[in-house]
Amino acid sequence: MTSLYRCCPLSLGLLFGAPTAFAGEFELETIAQLRHDHFGDLYVPAWQLLRFQQDAGPVDLQGYAGIEWMAGVPAPLDPDIYHLSAAGDLAGGAWQVGRQRGAGALRPQTFDGVSYRRAIGDKLQAAASVGMARHQDVDDLLDFATMGRVELGWGGDALWLRGGFEMNEGGDTELIARQDLQGLLRLGSGPRAGRFGVRAVVAEPLQVDPGTVLEWARTDLAVRPWSPLELSVHAQHRQAADPESLLGDAILDALAGGVVQEAGAGARLLGARWSALSMRYAVVGYGEGNDWGYRADMAWQPGRSDAAVRISPAFSSRAGPGGQYHAVSSLLRWRASDATALSASLALVPYQKVEQPWATLFTGGLQLQQRVAGFAKLGAMVDVAADGAGLMDVRGGATLNLGWSS
């Protein structure tokens, strides 16, 4: 609770002081909700988020901080600073210092450190970063790990290549090295241009039990043979083994198959006003190919994104080792005026988890957003999830967004 007393004045200070201190982009988001957890208990989470970016002057600042408060748990307050960094130019390159989100072999990495990126000639680009990455441990403790990454990129008008090498070490984990290669080839030019991409990542522990713990590769091709029609195909391979480390890439290794192969195709029909009807289907094979699954998605976004009324229906289906579901959903956005917007969502999801009977989940929600001043927006939401097994999860909340930009 003492922390709460410290954080509230801090929030108020940020609320009133930051707009005058930062001349770039600034947003303060306050969210409070009342909801049920999966054990049926009622609890009250609240978030105070701050995002800012000052992109003027010799040094740019950017930040993203959050405080989470949750009633009914042993440690209700969880203040954290997600990003807080300064950036600028040095010797023809760009530097960044502080807590930042940098490129990673598989996904962006958040770390405390320094990074530097510099163009070498017109086409070549080199980057390096070093710092301390943080990971949450199974005991809810932060596990620190040193990380370093070097990267080389080459970009022409039609072809772009990037290669990277990174290492992580820390806590009770071994040294893990990852190498990644990514390429993009633009086919043609203009809005009908297609693209062909490849990406591959390999991760290996270097000290204990050497051997590849992750192989991941993906290739995709997309073309527009006719202006409104986009066709795509992709193939993917993923083989993961858990090196008993939270730094490892074997998410869900205990649950999902260690070897996954996938091949799929998709189509998008694009309208003149940024509308799109999209469909994707992929067949997924597990292990030695004895088990099969699939994923299918279909969605339609009619009209412009800022149209007065927009109804976006979608269908999504999955089947695999964890069970299967078929979700039909729709999202309605109604801009009643420049200041008022209403969103409504509905979803019906028949699903079956492994070794459990079929159930049908219904979810519905309403959200009202009202601009109360040029820089302030209020929101109120309520939604419900219910299924035939007796689950009834009602959730309500309010949001205040304060934002400035100049």
Partner: protein, 193 residues
Amino acid sequence: MNRALLVLLPACLLVLLGAAAVAGSMPAFDHDAHKAANEKAGLTCMACHTLGPGGTGPTGMAATMAVPRADLCHGCHVRGAELPVDGVAVVKGPRACVTCHVTAPQPSSHGAGWKAGHGVDARMDVSGCRACHRQRDCVDCHERKQGVGFRVHDRSWEYIHGIAARTDPASCDTCHLQADCVSCHATDRGRAP
């Protein structure tokens, strides 16, 4: 379940066809609104309807007076391009491209496969993105989780994500670490079994 699918798929198509009846409106140039905003900022008609050669048609006073040059629009509607007009600060108008360019083709970089691979483009040249987009655009799609219209995972995701994760673990890998599972399912702050 095959019978259920036979019902669900036609229902889905019906919803799609029903939604086809709803289309976005195309806003016309609102001269009165522009005139009022300019007058409020102390600008006269001549701030837009300048004398002299200009425009894309025949040069001369008549052409320029009738249709102001596009760069004058961008003076108020494009971020970072604000320039004083006749020594008076310009009005800050809405900056979204689709405010005016409702029928314009998408940028050449937004070709086939762009939606699925736009992260690659952002890593190649983030300054290209920032010509039209702002940091908030990334946040709205990737980080703002509390609205009913969150675009990545909807409300039902909380109950069925285990099925999806086992079907396609590589999709989770793109954003999540194993620690993200742990934080909900195996910690004091976790609210899931």
